[in-house]
């Protein structure tokens, strides 16, 4: 009879939900636990100025005009300073693909949050290194 089969269905569903109560949750305790990001993760960039030839191929490849090049600012013989605007960047990877001199890479760092919008424009001092100020909030350190 239809009525009893419906009762059976309801019992099945309640059984599944009841079991789920005692399972380990899937999510993790985010700012204190984090997963390991894969090697290929397209996070923020790092610019190796030693290898850079100031060819501006990355600037031309960028679909959203997120990269600005300053050819006057030289640290080595023929390099240039890059300014990355992470308010515009879409992390498509075309600039890294365009670089033929191993001078530009993605890193697995993806938490780019800043308190100020201007801080998201990474100048040559920030884009060439992975060091950054730790983020502290209410006495707890998050990175």
């Amino acid at each position: 009879m239809g009525f009893f089969s419906v009762l059976g269905d309801i019992y099945q569903i309640l059984k599944h939900t009841f079991r789920q109560v005692f399972m380990r949750p899937f999510t993790y305790f985010f700012p204190f636990e984090d997963r390991i990001y894969p090697e290929r993760t397209r996070g923020r960039h790092i610019h190796v100025r030693k290898n850079c030839t100031a060819c501006a191929q990355c600037v031309r490849a960028c679909p959203v005009v997120a990269i600005r090049i300053d050819k006057e600012d030289k640290m080595y013989e023929k390099d240039a300073a890059l300014y990355f605007d992470y308010t515009r960047c879409i992390f498509c990877g075309l600039c890294v693909e365009a670089c033929r001199f191993d001078a530009l890479f993605h890193t697995p760092v993806v938490d780019l949050s800043e308190g100020d919008r201007d801080d998201l424009v990474y100048g040559p001092d920030k884009i060439t290194t992975l060091d950054r100020d730790p983020l502290e909030w209410r006495g707890r350190r998050f990175r």
Binding site: A56, V59, V65, I67, R68, I69, D70, K71
Partner: protein, 175 residues
């Protein structure tokens, strides 16, 4: 949909050309055909497609701006059971060209026609609901997909490299 008319693209083209001799055809691929249709015959051709192909799927209508007030309008139909693609090409001219609406035959074309109207300024006569579809009200009559619509390219000056060479006209940049 058990019955199968089993019509092929070339048969359909022949039937249409027999009825409307002004239409010319051009093969595109296997069982894919393009019909060049004069703008006053479009309702007749679309009606014939509706009658002869039982599962005609109205895929899209869109315009192309060929500059100098020349436009092309492309209708695409697809039939799953016959594996047949029909593409109609209509040439239009003028500042605000006009053509008959076909959305009473295929209701699915209604929004495509609305979009083509707001983007290219091609008027569809007897369209039941000629409002703007995607654009906000202040862009009424601006027709953004026409080639003469200027877009803001000022970001490119920020890159620091020499300003890029003027792109070829064909690239769509009217600077």
């Amino acid at each position: 949909m058990s019955e199968s008319t089993g019509i092929t693209a070339s048969t359909l083209a022949r039937q249409i050309i027999n009825r409307h001799p002004q239409v010319s055809s051009r093969p595109l691929g296997t069982n894919e055909i393009e019909l060049v249709v004069p703008s006053d015959k479009i309702r007749g051709v679309v009606t014939m497609i509706d009658e002869n192909v039982h599962d005609a799927l109205p895929e899209s209508i869109f315009g192309i701006d060929l500059e100098n007030d020349k436009y092309e309008l492309i209708y695409i139909f697809w039939s799953h059971s016959n594996r047949m693609l029909v593409q109609l090409r209509v040439s239009l001219e003028g500042e605000r060209p006009e053509i008959d609406s076909t959305c009473d035959i295929f209701p699915g074309f209604e929004w495509h026609e609305r979009e083509t109207r707001e983007m290219f300024g091609i008027e569809f006569k007897n369209h039941p609901d000629p409002r703007l579809l995607l654009l906000p009200d202040e862009l009424e009559g601006v027709f953004p997909l026409r080639k003469r619509f200027q877009t803001d390219q000022s970001r490119l000056d920020e890159t620091g490299i020499a300003p890029p060479k003027a792109r070829p006209k064909t690239g769509g940049d009217d600077e």
